[in-house]
Every structure is written in C-alpha cells, then in structure tokens.
C-alpha cells in the first residue's frame, strides 16, 4: 500500500519528479564519466609501466634492487625453480623471463654515455613484456643473434650511432675485471619513456652472461601478472622463497610514485564524489520536502482517518527511494553508455598534451571504470537519496493532525 | 462603428477538443460594448462567459470571427503587440491570485505602470492615489498575504484602474468573498465607473454582482441568450 501511494505521489507531480530524477541521473552519470576518465588514465599508466619493461613482479637476490651489483645474482636453484613453476602452474602468470643487467659505459665515435646494459632472453621476453613493439628503427633481438644490441633513441642520438654501427660497451665483470665488447646496433627503441630511451641498451642474455662471466646466472626474474592476481602471486612467492636470498617486489614496491600518484588522484575524486553527493542529496531533499509541504493538509486528513505517523514516514522514505532508484538507474545507464562509448572511440587529448609518454600516459584516453569505483559511487548516490528523506520525515513526525488540516 | 462604440465582437467561435468531438465554448457570438458601460456577463460555469472575457482580454484567440477594440482589429496583432495592447488599453481583475505574491500592494499597482516605463516617483504617486480611491490608504506596504481577500481584490481593482485603460475586465471578482465584501467591491467599481467614466465588463454568476450592473448579458452553452438593461 505504501509503495503504491508513494508511486502515485511521484506520478502526480511527474514534472517535478522527472526533473529530480534527471538531476540525480546527471550527477551520477557525471561521476561515472569522471571515474571512467580517471581510471582510464590510471590503468593505462599502470599497465604501460608493467607491460613495457618493468613487469608486475620482479624477483632479485636480496637487496639487489637498492644496491645493484653483479655479486647479488641468482642461479637456477631448486628453490627458485620450484617457486616459479608453482606460480606458473597456478595459471595466473602470463609471462616470465630472466634478465641480467649491469651498468656500462657505451662509446660511439667520440662520445660516451653511462647506460644500463640489459641482457634479455628474446623468446621469454616476448611473452612477458611489449618492449619489442617499441622498436621503431631496425628490429628487436632474435634468437642466436650474437653480439648485437638495441638502443634507446636518445642514447643512440647522444652516442651519434645509427643502425649497423658498432657500439663498444665497457664494464666490469663478476670478478671486477674490465670487460669491453663490440656490439652491432640492430634496432632503436622509441618508447617516449625517458629512462628507456636515454639509458638503456639491450643485448642477448647469453652474450652478456659470457661477457660478464655470469654463465647460468641472472639478476632479475620478471613476471607479468593480471592486476587481480598480483597480490596472491606475491604472497605465494614470498612464502616459498627464503627472505635472506630473495626479494619479491611488486611494480609499485620498485616505483612507488605512480601508485602514490594514482592514490592521490583517487583521493581527490573521492572528495569530488562527496561534493557531488551533497549536491544531489540537497536536490532530492528539495523535491521530497516540496511535495510534502504541498500535502501537509492531505497528511492531516490521513492522520485524522487513523493513518499512523510511521506509515506516513514510510511513504515519504519510499518516495525518496523510488526517486533515488530511478535516478541511479538512469545515471548508470547514461554514465556507462558514455564510458563504453569513449572506451571505443577514446578522448583525443593529443592536441593538449603531445608527449606525456614520460608518465606512461597515452594522449588518447580510453575510458574504463573499476567495478568497485562504480558500485561505491552508485551506492553512495542511493544512500544520499535515502538520507535526504530524513529531514522531511522529521517534519512529518512532528505533524499535528488538526494543525495540518488547517494548513493552506 | 459609431463614435461611442468601444468593442465589437462579431460571429466569434471557440472550440475545445474533448475526446473525439469538438465542443463549442463560444458558438457564433455577437457582442458589443459602448464607452461607459458597466456590463455583467452572467451564466453558469461552462456557459462560455470566461472564454468570451479571455477573447476580449486578448488572452486567448477565437477560432472564427472578428474582434474590434477601440477601432483596432486586435486579432491581427502579433503576440508581443497583444501583450502591449493589454498593457496600454485593458485592466484586469481576476477571481483569485490576483496579485504578485512577493510585491507589496503599492508595488503591485505600480508594476503595470513600470511596464509602461513610467518614472518611479510618478508611478508610486499614482499607485498611492488609486489605493486610497479603493479605500486602502495606510495599507500600501502590506504584502498580499497580509491583506484580506476583499482587500486583495481592491488592490487588483486599483491596479486595473491605475493604468487608465479603456476597458476593465473582471472575471468572477467576488467569487472568493463573502456577500458583504462582494457588495462593497461591486459598489466600488460601479462608483468608479460613474465618477471616472471607465468601461467595465464583469463575468459573474454572483447575484450581488448582477445587482450592481447597468446591463446584464446572460449566456448559456456558448450563446448569448438575453441582454437586459437594468
């Protein structure tokens, strides 16, 4: 009965109800779109960071990340192999590759540059990261390439070398002896990311192992994992690997600024969520209050006829909930349609920002929304609609039948 | 049209759609008013008197027929010109909700004058003059909700007269008043008609109103059925 009464009241002043539903829907769809944009940018940033080269998880010898040194290396011990094969069998690991890296001085004709010399296993790397896609001149490494290298574009330019030229890398091997070798430049990477373009040289893993006297030894194991499995895989790896010998680091343990940045911006969005919620709640309260004031007389008659205050209050709250629910439904529909549409076509901001690739941001933003952001937002709007009914309910509860009937 | 003729409505029809059929609210009505008339249109509700009043007040347009007011073919006017014609030539008194809620009695009267572009001091003087004419001296600064129903209607009359219109239209002005206040309102209007020569057309089925009339026109089902000089 309450439901049908409430619905009739909504239908009676349909124009006003429509306006309110539209306002709630606008608020919610605007928030959903905002989240869509935000999550789109953030997820792209985080995906790019993990997929281009860093990976989702890296395993090193303990302390290697902070103090890289060839003495802190790993071998294919049974312990490590067991942990890795366990992770792989869980089906949550998309790719896994072993790397060896060291600092080196690269010399071109008459210039030298300090670089990270990174040995990669071409086959395993292809399943783990997308670094090969970032080669824009020449080609990436292939199996059995021999002494060849791929350089970042800035590094190649700084060294004054082009495809086919020889680059000499000067470094120290595992025993501290000076090691120098000549590598033929076969590819140049333009990722937009400064660290890669300016400071990286990639060479075949086996060649580098030989050069550094590191046969069968690695400095990093890189795993690519979907975001939803990141934590569980990390926990499992940490439990099966000895802390004294191995460190298991997630991408944001290694590069915390991006995660912090995302958290910071999300915090801002939560503030705006709160602001928009207050505005939407004020709107619903307005409508319910107005329609209640109009009906004070009617309420008085109903009370005189024996209708309890509780029923009246129930009616007001149900009215508010119906308005809120309709608004939320429309808002979800419009907001998700917007997000889906821009997920397809993207928002082209390349005119506003050419090369923010440094932050792993793509200039074309494809909106997407995290499920928990979506439900938090829709849930809070709905909750705001219910809370908005409390002021009118309070007024109803204070109503005296005789006074109400005489209300004009 | 003779010199003292103010209004000439010829063969006026107005139809309303109800369901499948059209209902004639005005069915080929001919109607005249002379300067200085004080005419009451009577008839039951639905007889077409308010519709006729709305036509004459340019609030509504007939589907068929012609309408001349003060020598002007008013049906040929655009919406904006009609608003201007109402402003310059016609005064209105309605049944209820006559006044703008948020303006004082004085500001309500002055509003029409302001629409005409009159200077502030002049229009406030005129408003005060007409408020005292309708017996509301001292209540100029009250808001409508601080005035009784009868007082509100008097403010409406003062407003209708303040702009010196050629014709004052009143739609059921006494409907929300008790008979004593209704009579005094009608006497006020009749008095102003005699002293100032203003033409009044009043739609009402209130016997008190009919008693004050110089001429009584009776309508039934969209037709004028009788017209008596009292």
């Amino acid at each position: 009965m309450i439901l049908s009464l409430a619905w009739r009241n909504i239908a009676r002043s349909w124009q006003r109800s429509l306006v309110t539903v539209a306002a709630v829907a606008t608020g919610l769809s605007a928030l959903i779109f905002l989240w869509g944009f935000n999550d789109g940018v953030h997820n792209t940033m985080m995906r790019n960071l993990q997929q281009v080269i860093v990976g989702s998880i890296q395993i090193h010898h303990t302390d290697f990340f902070k103090k890289p040194s060839l003495s802190r290396h790993m071998k294919q011990t049974p312990e490590l192999m067991k942990a890795l094969s366990k992770a792989q069998h869980s089906g949550q690991v998309k790719g896994l590759s072993c790397r060896l890296d060291s600092f080196a001085l690269a010399a071109g004709d008459d210039v030298s540059e300090g670089l990270v010399l990174l040995g990669m296993d071409t086959k395993a790397e292809a399943q783990t990261t997308r670094i090969a896609e970032k080669v824009d001149q020449g080609r990436f490494l292939q199996a059995d390439d021999g002494a060849v290298c791929v350089l970042g574009a800035t590094a190649a330019r700084n060294l004054g070398v082009s495809l086919g030229d020889d680059v000499i890398f000067l470094t120290q091997d595992r025993f501290g002896a000076l090691a120098a070798d000549k590598f033929k430049l076969i590819g140049i990477i333009s990722s937009g990311e400064m660290g890669i373009d300016r400071g990286l040289a990639i060479v075949p893993l086996d060649v580098l192992q030989t050069m550094l006297e590191m046969q069968g030894r690695y400095t990093r194991v890189v795993l690519q994992i979907a975001p939803e499995h990141l934590e569980s895989v990390t926990t499992s790896l940490r439990s099966s690997l000895n802390h004294k010998d191995y460190e298991v680091l997630r991408w944001y343990d290694m590069y915390p600024m991006m995660k912090q940045w995302v958290d910071l911006e999300n915090a801002f969005y939560y503030i705006f969520l709160g602001v928009v919620l207050l505005i939407v709640a004020a709107g619903i309260m307005n409508t319910v209050l107005m329609s209640m004031l109009e009906r004070v007389r009617e309420f008085g008659v109903m009370m005189a006829l024996g209708c309890s205050r509780r029923v009246l209050a129930g009616m007001v709250i149900v009215e508010s909930m119906i308005l809120g629910a309709l608004g939320v439904l429309f808002g979800l529909f419009v907001g998700l349609t917007l997000v889906a549409w821009f997920h397809g076509v993207g928002i082209d901001l390349s005119a506003q920002m050419d090369t923010v690739a440094r932050f792993y941001v793509d200039p074309i933003v494809y909106t997407e929304i995290d499920a928990n952001h979506l439900w938090q937002t829709a849930g809070s709007v709905m909750a705001a609609a219910i809370v908005a009914a409390f002021v009118p309910i309070w007024r109803v509860a204070k109503l005296q039948p005789v006074e109400a009937i005489h209300h004009v | 049209m003779s010199d003292d003729m103010l209004l000439q409505a010829t063969d006026v029809c107005k139809y309303y759609h109800s369901g499948d059929s059209d209902m004639a609210a005005l069915d080929h009505v001919d109607f005249q008013l002379k300067k200085g008339d004080f005419t009451v249109l009577s008839g039951r509700s639905g007889s077409g008197k308010t519709t006729l009043l709305n036509m004459i007040g340019l609030l509504d347009t007939p589907d068929v027929g012609s309408l001349d007011i003060a020598g002007e073919d008013v049906l040929a006017l655009s919406a904006a010109k009609r608003a201007d014609f109402r402003l310059q030539r016609i005064g209105f008194v309605f049944q209820a909700y006559n006044l703008i809620r948020v303006l004082s009695a004085r500001e309500n009267v002055a509003y029409v004058l302001q629409l005409r572009g009159m200077a502030k001091k002049e229009r406030l003087d005129i408003a005060d003059h007409w408020l005292s004419e309708v017996g509301l001296k001292g209540l100029e600064h009250r808001r409508p909700d601080q005035l009784s129903g009868g007082q509100q209607q008097r403010v409406a009359v003062a407003r209708a007269l303040a702009s010196q219109p050629v014709l004052v239209l009143a739609d059921e002005p006494t409907a929300n008043l008790d008979s004593q206040h209704g009579e005094s309102l009608m006497n006020l209007m009749r008095d102003l008609n005699e002293r100032c020569g203003m033409t009044f057309l009043i739609a009402s089925h209130d016997p008190v109103a009919m008693a004050a009339a110089k001429q009584c026109v009776h309508m039934e089902d969209g037709n004028i059925v009788s017209s008596d000089i009292v």
Partner: protein, 414 residues
C-alpha cells in the same frame, strides 16, 4: 526594469527559504570545492615550476650550438667571455654560473652505476641552484679541493660508498678517449628528485676541465632570472646582443627552461586538462540542481506568470525575469562558495596542507608534499565565469517555458 526583476527574483527566492537554502548550499559546496581545487592545483604547479627550475636547471641556459640535442662533450664553448659580458649589465638577472655536463660511469669497490657528472663553480652555483641546500651529509665543495665529489644519496647507496670513500669516475673526453679520475666523497645530496639523487656527481669545474681536457671551456652557462616573467625578455635580449657582437652568431644556443626539458610544462598542461574536466563535470551537476530548483519554482508559479502575462508583461520580459532569478540564485551560491573556497585556500596557503603520505609521487614531480594553495586571478575568473555562464544556460529552459505560457490556460492552473 532590470531592477524590479532582480527584486522580484530575490523575493521569490526568499519565499521558499528551505528550497533556496538547499540549492544555495549545493551550489556553494560545488563552487567552494572547485575554488579550492583550482587554488591547490595552481599552488603545486607553481611549486613544481619553481623547484623544477631551481633544483638544477636554471631559467635560461646558453650552450654551444647543438649541444642540447647532441649532448656531445665535443660541442663545448671554448670561450664564454662574450656571454659573461652581455650578462654583466643585463637587468632581471639574479645570478649565473658555468658548468660542464657529461655522462659517465662511476665505480667503487666492485659496484658501478651510470652518473651525470657536473663540473661546477662552487660559489656561483650556490647563487643559481638549490643544490647547496640539498647537501644532507658532509660539506659543499670547497675551493681548492680538487678531488672532492658530491654524490646523490641513492647513487652513493648503489655504489655502497660514504663520506671519505673513493669513487672512480669515467667519461669520454672530446678527443674520444675514456678518461678516468679518482675522487673522494665529500658530501651526499638528497633532493627528492630522482634525476638528481640517482644520477648526479658534482665535481669542481676546474678539475673537470683538466680531467676531460677542455682547457677553459665549459658546456653550460646557467642563468637564474629574478622571476619567470623575465625569462622571455632575458632570452631575447641575450640573443640580440650575441647576434650583434659577432658575425659568427651561430656559435651559441640560448634556451628557456621549457625548451631544455618540457616535462614541467607538459605536466602543467596535463593537470590543466584534468582540472577543466573536473570543472566541467561539477558545473554540470551543480547546474542540473539549479535547473531542478528553477523548474520547480516555475511550475509552482504558473498562475503568477499567467497573471503577469495577462497584465501585459511581454514574453521577453518574462524570459528576462526568470533568467534574472536564476542569476540571483547562482550569485548567492557562487559568492558563498567562493568565499568559503577562498578562505580555505588562504588558510592552507598560509599554513600548508600536509600530504606527506604521497611524498614519493610529489618529489618525483618536483613538488613539495606540503601544498600551499594559491589563489590566482585566472583560476578564480575561470570558475566564476563558468558558473555564471552555466547559470544563464540553466535559466534558459525554465525562462523559455515561462515565456511560452498561454496566459488564459496558465490562469486556470491551480
């Protein structure tokens, strides 16, 4: 006539204090949040710009032509006396210094790392950059201490070296030979900026010149202007003087900070786009609410509009009246919100807003985690203009509806 619309609008709004109050509150919250966000954004972008420039880069740099692109030590300036002479009498210059910049390799006890070696003039450097303020352990480079080096703290950690330890720096000389020198760590630098803490090795410029065989040559003249607004003037002035002094004007390149590293400017633009989107969305939500209120108020007053029309109020006048009422409503909320937002901005502008939990993200962006919001004219004007424009837009539909009412039908409404 305008005055009576304003008065009518105001009084109509006051007729329903609850409804108007709620709408004004919603508006005020929205505008206050926008004002504060904008001030915060301007505050930290300004902070970033200043830190970005003053950490190391300077406002303007002069190099040998092509050095910025090539970064080849071979492209150095043999003689900067013309530049120095030009700078001597130029207004708006706070200080300038010379540097040698070269990328190389550092090694110590088995560990090695790539470094950016920077040869500096110890006294002048203090006046130009903040590197001096960032010395965390040990001392700044002393005049005459030829083999002293200051390292970024992360770099030192990587090399496992501390104060007094030996470090070997290796770099290629213009002739192409790899030259190495032994230095002793005199101090550690912590700036929070990755490029500095992870890469930088500061050595005396005279030592760098000797070690790399540059004679009296340097790679950079780094200029600190008195303000960002002076940068363009300095650059034009300097280019003109250098052009007029020698026929061979192709010898130098004069670069603004944005040209040296566009990061700060790009980030400003990126943050700007973000702010615009948030601004747009909040304004839309707020205005949906204003539209809601105005439509309700209009539906309530159909009779009154009918009456006004009957009295001869023209359609345009009715239209203007509703728009005015909307403007009054938005102005009330806007002013209240702006005052609240501005007050919060000024308060935190004075005392700072501590966001240290995001410190790494901030220092990566050259920003201090204590944010001091800054009210700028542009930021405020943008919000107020958007709100007012939006108010007019939100008022248009109810105004249009009000002006289209048929007076006779409207009067029949109850």
């Amino acid at each position: 006539m305008f005055r009576i619309y304003m008065r009518l609008g105001l009084r109509n709004l006051l007729l329903y204090p609850m409804r108007t109050g709620l709408t004004v509150l919603g508006l005020a919250i929205g505008i206050a949040a926008l004002t504060f966000l904008s001030a915060m954004n301007d505050g930290w972008l300004q902070n970033m710009k200043v830190n970005f420039v003053l950490t190391q880069m300077g406002h303007v740099q002069v190099h040998a032509k092509g050095f910025e692109a090539s970064r080849r030590i071979g492209d150095y300036m043999h003689d900067t006396s013309e530049v120095d002479k030009a700078l001597q009498n130029m207004p708006h210059i706070q200080a300038w210094t010379h540097r040698i910049r070269v990328s190389g390799l550092a090694s110590a006890a088995g560990a090695n790392a790539s470094v950016l070696v920077s040869g500096i003039e110890s006294d002048n450097e203090k006046k130009v950059s903040r590197l001096y303020d960032f010395v965390q352990q040990g001392k700044w480079l002393q005049e005459g201490d030829k083999r002293g080096v200051l390292l970024g703290d992360v770099l030192a950690d990587r090399l496992s070296v501390g104060l007094g330890d030996k470090v070997v720096l290796m770099a290629a000389s213009p002739a192409g030979d790899i030259a190495s020198e032994v230095f002793r760590v005199r101090g550690l630098i912590h700036s929070g900026v990755m490029d500095v803490d992870n890469l930088l090795a500061l050595v005396p410029i005279s030592m760098a010149q000797h070690w790399l065989g540059l004679g009296e040559g340097v790679t950079d003249v780094v200029i600190r202007a008195d303000a960002f607004t002076s940068v363009d003037g300095i650059v034009n002035n300097l280019k003109q003087i250098l052009d007029s002094k020698r026929l061979d004007s192709k010898q130098f390149e004069v670069l603004r900070w944005q040209e040296i590293d566009p990061m700060a400017e790009q980030w400003t633009i990126f943050a700007g786009v973000y702010t615009w989107i948030v601004l747009l969305v909040v304004i839309i939500v707020v205005l949906a609410e204003v539209l809601n209120t105005m439509l309700m108020s209009m539906y309530d007053r159909v009779r009154e509009f009918g009456l006004m029309a009957a009295l001869g109020t023209g359609q345009k006048q009715l239209f203007a009246m509703v728009v005015c009422e909307t403007l009054v409503l938005v102005a009330m909320g806007g002013v209240l919100g702006f005052v609240l937002g501005a007050a919060a901005s000024l308060y935190f502008g004075a005392y700072g807003l501590d966001l240290s939990q995001y410190a790494t993200a901030f220092s990566f962006m050259y920003m201090s985690p204590i944010v001091y919001p800054e009210l700028t004219f542009n930021g405020c004007a943008r919000i107020l203009i958007a709100a007012m424009l939006g108010a007019v837009l939100a008022g248009l539909y109810p105004a249009w509806k009000a002006s289209r009412l048929n007076p006779a039908a409207a009067m029949r409404e109850v």
